[in-house]
Symmetry: C2
Subunit: 355 residues, 2 copies
Amino acid sequence: MSRARRSGTGGKVSLADVAACANVSLATASRVMSGATYPVAAATRERVLQAATDLSYAPNLIARALVRRMTNTIGVVIGDITDSYFAEIARGVEDQAYRRDFLTIICNTDRSPAVENAYFRLLLDHHAAGIIIAGGAFPQAPENEAFRELAKEASRSATRLVMLTDRDVEAPVISVDDRMVTMDLTRYLIGLGHRRIAYVEGLTGLSTSLRRGEGFARAMTEAGLDASLRYPGGFGIEPGRAAAALMLRNELPDAVIAASDEAAFGVLTTLQQGGVEIPRQVSVAGIDDNRHAQLFNLTTMRLPTYDLGAMAAKWVIGDEPGAPDSRVTLPCRVIPRGTTSWISTADRKGALRAG
Amino acid sequence: MSRARRSGTGGKVSLADVAACANVSLATASRVMSGATYPVAAATRERVLQAATDLSYAPNLIARALVRRMTNTIGVVIGDITDSYFAEIARGVEDQAYRRDFLTIICNTDRSPAVENAYFRLLLDHHAAGIIIAGGAFPQAPENEAFRELAKEASRSATRLVMLTDRDVEAPVISVDDRMVTMDLTRYLIGLGHRRIAYVEGLTGLSTSLRRGEGFARAMTEAGLDASLRYPGGFGIEPGRAAAALMLRNELPDAVIAASDEAAFGVLTTLQQGGVEIPRQVSVAGIDDNRHAQLFNLTTMRLPTYDLGAMAAKWVIGDEPGAPDSRVTLPCRVIPRGTTSWISTADRKGALRAG
DNA sequence: TTGTACGCGTTATCAG
DNA sequence: CTGATAACGCGTACAA
């Protein structure tokens, strides 16, 4: 009765209204509306459906979530959505989520382990169906302990967890081989005849940066080259600029690899402003292959960012979750463009000296 | 008792556990945990708090949402998160949301009115605390009817609605004056001595594009100049490229304004590849001032994208919502950089002819 | 100041 | 195949 009164107002119509309107029990109405494959007579089902559309019924997702102990949301924890690397990942997640009527929650940490943990906690409390952690690890961070604790809590609950980079927790990880990324890229440049190759590091302390640095070093030493030409860096434009400014003060390298496209842009433009011709004098390469790499005609390593997010989302909302110890590694490849070229014989002298 | 048994397992601890542990009623426990300003004796409050931390209690946000008829989430409906324009908006929202423990749900529509409505519906059913619609309007879209219906439903419910561009619905709107944006920019270029100015349009059918086009036309005609040099466009890089390719086949304009930075990048690089010197021969300007504009040294209109999102979020989760008919307009301004300059007297001839 | 009891809108478990 | 009814975990009148 109170229901009947409410139906006239702006109050939402509930399943009870539908049931009443269709002359069936709440249970029956639920069975047809909740999409379950439960045996209901075709006739009554039709009646319920009709009543639902008549009353323009929309299920209360929250009530449903309470009893199912699970919302139709999936959280993606990233560094910063304005960074195209993370934006692509988020897009991959969202595309999959949308297909199954899941909502995508975005959590910017600005690479703060504390914020990361705070969001982890919040998502758990929100009973997200899945949590995708895309930020890299800081092996030294004191917050790692709490992070692992949170991961354990997740494994006890029903929310599925996926890591997009190895975080040393019991959760499936989908990632790229960061060491291989720089190794392949470095080898590519060496194959082009470059000997004196500089490397602009990624963000300090991040395990991803560490591994990329290792890859560079390994490729150089295995070719008998000096791997010590390194510049402190980061993933943004500014670190690239700073490194390039330093390069301009000394003997130029044959080539420079930056740990990200953005940093490479910084290197590229600063070098050019300094009067250096790219790639005639110096070759430049980045990592990511983001949307603007093409604009700068930048040689780079293509990272499957979108696929990382998409696959993680599938594991999280799909029928087959990734096993807690499963790790899949997605392939990357060099995208040769105009900022790299064979080293000219005229400039080879310096290179030979360095080698 | 069943509770006591569960406490040992991985099952979550509930408020009842806390209450029992603190020897108080469920109500009392609720009153201290829910943060309400309800009179509770300091001693008992302390006991409850202690019990909560002892049991590492975390409130079930879904249960809370059910009774409050409101989740701690805010949905932001955008075109595409990999577009830095929308990413900045989303970041503005998220920053505010995080401060108050709200979760930010991101919804990519790819500018499809149908998808936009689908997300609108989903967010409503999810009982989002607020919904921010950032995509532009397609005045001709048949889905607009349903959109308005959804907006009405929102106004009847408790979820707050904010538009980031005028959508002709009963909801507060925070936006920029798109007409003024292009007018100011065009006037700036005219002030630099340019006469033959080309305009690369925004995405067809979008009201934002329409208004920007109007602004360009008005500024030109009020200066007694020909406003007919327009190129079909869009907000991406490719449309810019295509327009520039066309320009290269005919008499070059003095300057070109693109409806977005990305399009301007396309114009800029294509023109340069075509042997045109920027800005000596042609000045180029964009709209947005995104992160890469500085890299290209692009003159542009700075749009307060981040602030748009941040202010919308405040209206949505803050103490004072925007009135349904309130419209605030955030200021924009020209950022002069290196892709525009005074027109050289040598090139002035053509300009005079056109004027 | 504290406790009791009910309601939020669904789903799931039993009987019929 | 259908219908009562008990959870789900929390907030809040109302009563004490």
